[in-house]
């Protein structure tokens, strides 16, 4: 799960390439234009490497932090079918983190360092996971709509230029589509269930709509900077384009279930073909991403505690005395 890469609009346009060898840069850009994938040992601009590390790392953090709100419901999932499916789903998310950390490591930043930057608050992760999953229905809405948003984003990124990242994304997208099916099935059962179940899912949807609208990030104005990153196939689509794709695919499905979205202005403009909506509260988005959301402290505290509790294990793996032994049976 993930929101789109954030690009600082205040960066000077020529800063991305100013120190690069023009011949190598031209070759590099020609390869990307031709649809080649860039591999770890290939030459690449410093800024390409930097942006990718940041983006893949944030994506990895989002997967691992994203496993927490749903993870707390594993022990409460109602019935065998949901229990097994939810464990498998959350496990997949942790697996995505593992794949993505490995992809980012190919660019030169070790996993341990990335995790340290996560728990120190230095690197970011998707803002949606700073909101609580209050009831079982919240997990259903997350698995359906947040995973749906993640798919829109990840499908776009899977057409990118960096080999290890796009290969990881291909695998991840295949699994995310199962999550989406699981989430949708879950929401359908609630929305067509008892009055209590319908109430639960409506309330969860109302709670999650603002974070969902925040998911793809604020409108990004097209700068020279974003143009370069798009030319390098690091950034694949604008935040607004992805939000439109998402709304177009899922709002009709939500309405079909008889559920209500808490935005009276939400409608598709038949002339432009675009969705219109009340502008999300970007001040809140900024506040939450900078650490002041309902769950930021809790999420990082859980992660920090897991890291601390597991330190002796990781040390034991590094010990010179530790040895690999073939299993006996």
């Amino acid at each position: 799960m993930y929101g789109n890469a954030y690009i600082d609009p205040s960066l000077a346009p020529n800063k991305l390439t100013q120190d690069e060898d023009p011949i190598k840069l031209a070759e590099f850009e020609a390869r990307i234009a031709a649809g080649d994938k860039i591999e770890p040992k290939d030459w690449m601009p410093t800024e390409y490497r930097k942006q990718l590390i940041r983006m893949i790392e944030q994506h990895a953090h989002s997967e691992i932090i994203g496993s927490l709100p749903e993870g707390t419901w594993i022990t409460r999932a109602p019935g065998f079918r949901r229990k097994l499916a939810l464990i498998a789903k959350v496990q997949d998310e942790v697996g995505h983190a593992q794949l993505l950390y490995s992809a980012a490591e190919t660019l030169g930043k070790p996993r341990e360092e990335m995790i340290n930057d996560l728990i120190s608050g230095k690197s970011k992760y998707s803002n949606v996971f700073n909101y609580p999953a209050i009831t079982w229905a919240d997990t259903a809405v997350i698995a359906w709509l947040i995973d749906a948003g993640a798919i829109v984003n990840q499908l776009a990124n899977s057409k990118g230029s960096y080999g290890p990242y796009v290969r990881a994304l291909d695998r991840i997208c295949a699994e995310e589509s199962f999550h989406l099916k699981y989430g949708h099935d879950n929401v359908v059962y609630l929305a067509t269930g008892t009055p209590k179940q319908r109430q639960m899912v409506q309330e969860a949807l109302t709670r999650w709509w603002p974070p969902i609208m925040h998911f793809f990030g604020p409108s990004d104005k097209i700068s020279v900077h974003t143009e370069t990153l798009m030319k390098w196939k690091v950034k694949m689509a604008s935040n607004d384009d992805m939000r439109q794709t998402f709304l177009n695919m899922y709002v009709p499905k939500i309405w079909d279930l008889g559920l209500v979205l808490p935005d009276p202005n939400l409608k598709k403009n038949t002339e432009t073909g675009l969705w219109e909506y009340t502008e999300p509260d970007w001040e809140e988005f900024k506040r939450v991403i900078n650490g002041d959301g309902p769950c930021n402290a809790e999420r990082l505290a859980v992660r920090r505690q897991a890291e601390e509790k597991g330190r002796w294990v990781r040390q034991a793996l590094l010990s010179k005395d530790s040895r690999y032994v073939t299993p006996l049976v």
Binding site: T75, G79, A97, G310, V313
Partner: protein, 256 residues
């Protein structure tokens, strides 16, 4: 061989304890999702949790076919005194070394149990046992690799592992608490018995632990933690069940 009416009764008792162990330990292991010492261990514990819960479902399904309720009702609608799990599986996940040692002891026993059950005269169980034992092989491999790795890697890891061993050993012996119908099960070729299982288990786990630099207490000096098979549990089980059934009980007639 035909199974007698007494035999069926004994089978039900046995299936309940096997299934309850798997469900409760699977539930506990799933609590590691997102919290493991390395991501790979989160994923491993989560996989094994899915297998365990899946195996318990297979056992409850056999019970359903024998006239008991459907699996969801059996699993989600009983109180602790109606459960037949051993104390070992009931404890919270604790520190990683506790969960690892529990996983090692339990899965080694389970691997042998299903090996024995694969030849049971009760064919529906024998069939499932043959499938399950193939899957548990990976769990015991996983446990042994980690026991080997952590047993003597550092002073701290050795201390932690030895302490976990000492704590879990009496609980692990509780796995083998004899049932009321051991003789019938043995006579009718359904299952050789808990005593035989415990002997095989001890023979298997002792050299592995010793090779990893850990000391195995003499079994005669230990009081096994018994009672679980007859509905007497640690204080950890009931709160766990309340959490597990929290959503299900909002409306047990609803479809989730």
């Amino acid at each position: 061989m035909n199974i007698s009416e007494k035999g069926f009764f004994a089978i039900k008792e046995m299936l309940y304890k096997i299934a309850d162990d798997q469900l409760i330990l699977g539930h506990r292991n799933s609590e590691w999702t997102g919290l493991g010492p390395v991501l790979e261990e989160d994923i491993a514990f989560s996989s094994m949790a899915q297998d365990k819960i899946g195996h318990s479902l297979a056992m409850y399904e056999i019970l359903s076919q024998m006239g008991e309720s459907d699996p969801d009702t059996i699993a989600f609608m009983r109180n602790d005194d109606q459960f037949h799990c051993c104390h070992l599986v009931e404890y919270p996940i604790g520190e990683y070394e506790f969960s690892l040692m529990r996983h090692f002891f339990f899965d080694m026993a389970e691997a042998i149990r299903f090996e024995m059950l694969a030849n049971s005269t009760f064919e529906p169980l024998a069939m499932v046992a043959r499938k399950i034992k193939g899957e548990i092989k990976y769990h015991t491999m996983h446990a042994q690799i980690w026991i080997n790795q952590l047993g003597a890697a550092t002073e701290e890891s050795n201390l932690r592992m030895q302490k976990a061993l000492n704590e879990t050993f009496p609980l692990a012996l509780g796995i083998f608490e004899p049932g009321t119908h051991e003789e019938i099960l043995a006579e009718e070729g359904i299952f050789e018995g808990e005593k035989a299982l415990q002997d095989k288990w001890l023979q298997l786990v002792t050299p592995i632990l010793e090779k990893a630099g850990l000391q195995v207490p003499s079994i005669s000096s230990i009081t096994p933690s018994y009672g679980g098979r007859f509905g007497s549990h640690t204080p950890h089980l009931q709160p766990m069940l309340e959490e597990m059934t929290e959503v299900f009980r909002i409306d047990p007639s609803a479809e989730w």
